[in-house]
Symmetry: C2
Subunit: 144 residues, 2 copies
DNA sequence: TGTTCTATGCAATGGAAGTGCATTTTGGAA
DNA sequence: TTCCAAAATGCACTTCCATTGCATAGAACA
């Protein structure tokens, strides 16, 4: 496992330090997009700056992508296999649950093509749906 | 003009103070979504808190809507006539220009219906396209 | 006119992102 | 193996924006 991650990081041109491997593992086991603060809380021993810069590096090397989920807090999630973060092919929508406050990547849901007025050029599309996620809505049912 | 705004505010249950009328006028003449800082710069005389709370009140009363354009800075724009900020009817997309840094509401462009996985309920949809706006792209042409 | 509710202004707080610099660690060359 | 240079880490700050508490000014209404 660790070796796989190590190889993966190396392949992307990122030195597989102990901390980075841990961060990668953390992102892997969380299936939601996480904020820097989340990572910080998970690794109280490490400094925020290290985490910040590690994630930044991951982002530059195409290992994670940043998500703006409308909360104003930047979230990060691992890219899918073969993701180039390219417009019209890789862009999926994100769902932000207003109950549990988690943001998930709905990678199978591609963003439909958007027609813009003349003169406008799109470089990036960000689609966030806010509502209640499946976990929260099923919990609600159970309680009642 | 001022009287129209005054009536409009009253109708929405907002006391039409001098400051609020000015803010409303400002939002009206800007056809882009503005940040609190923008309003602050436009009215250096007034306190940031006043502006903050005025806009907040506007938002609560359905006079403006808040926009998350992916910059992490909250933007505000006047609601269209008859806008209820309702899903599937009023939701339009926003365009953020990475050159001039302005965010416009493309109100005529409604967001296509999104199919979510089972268990997910949508309350709100936010679609932001980032790229170059018409003004900036035509300027570029002119320069070259 | 007086009372009460609302709006305003000032000061301060808090959260998150980002930077500069010193120190440690790591990988590779000698 | 040892040493050097580059990269990573940790600490201390800074900045920017959002938000709140409290005291004061102002408006509406009895």
């Amino acid at each position: 496992m660790t070796q796989k991650i190590e190889k993966l990081l190396k392949d992307q041109g990122v030195r597989p330090t102990a901390m980075r491997i841990l961060i990668y593992k953390y992102l892997l086991e969380k299936n939601v997009a996480v904020a820097l603060t989340d990572i910080e809380n998970a690794f109280a021993k490490s400094d925020r700056t290290t985490l910040y810069r590690s994630v930044k590096t991951f982002e530059e090397k195409g290992i994670v992508h940043q998500i703006e989920d409308g909360t104003g807090i930047k979230k990060y999630a691992l890219c899918e296999d073969g993701c180039n973060c390219e417009i019209d092919t890789d862009l999926h929508l994100h769902f932000h649950c207003s109950t549990c406050n988690e943001t998930v990547c709905l990678t199978e849901h591609k963003i439909p093509h958007i027609n813009l007025p003349t003169g406008y050029t799109a470089e990036n599309v960000n689609l966030v749906v806010k509502g209640i996620c499946d976990k929260c809505s099923s919990q609600q049912k159970t309680i009642r």
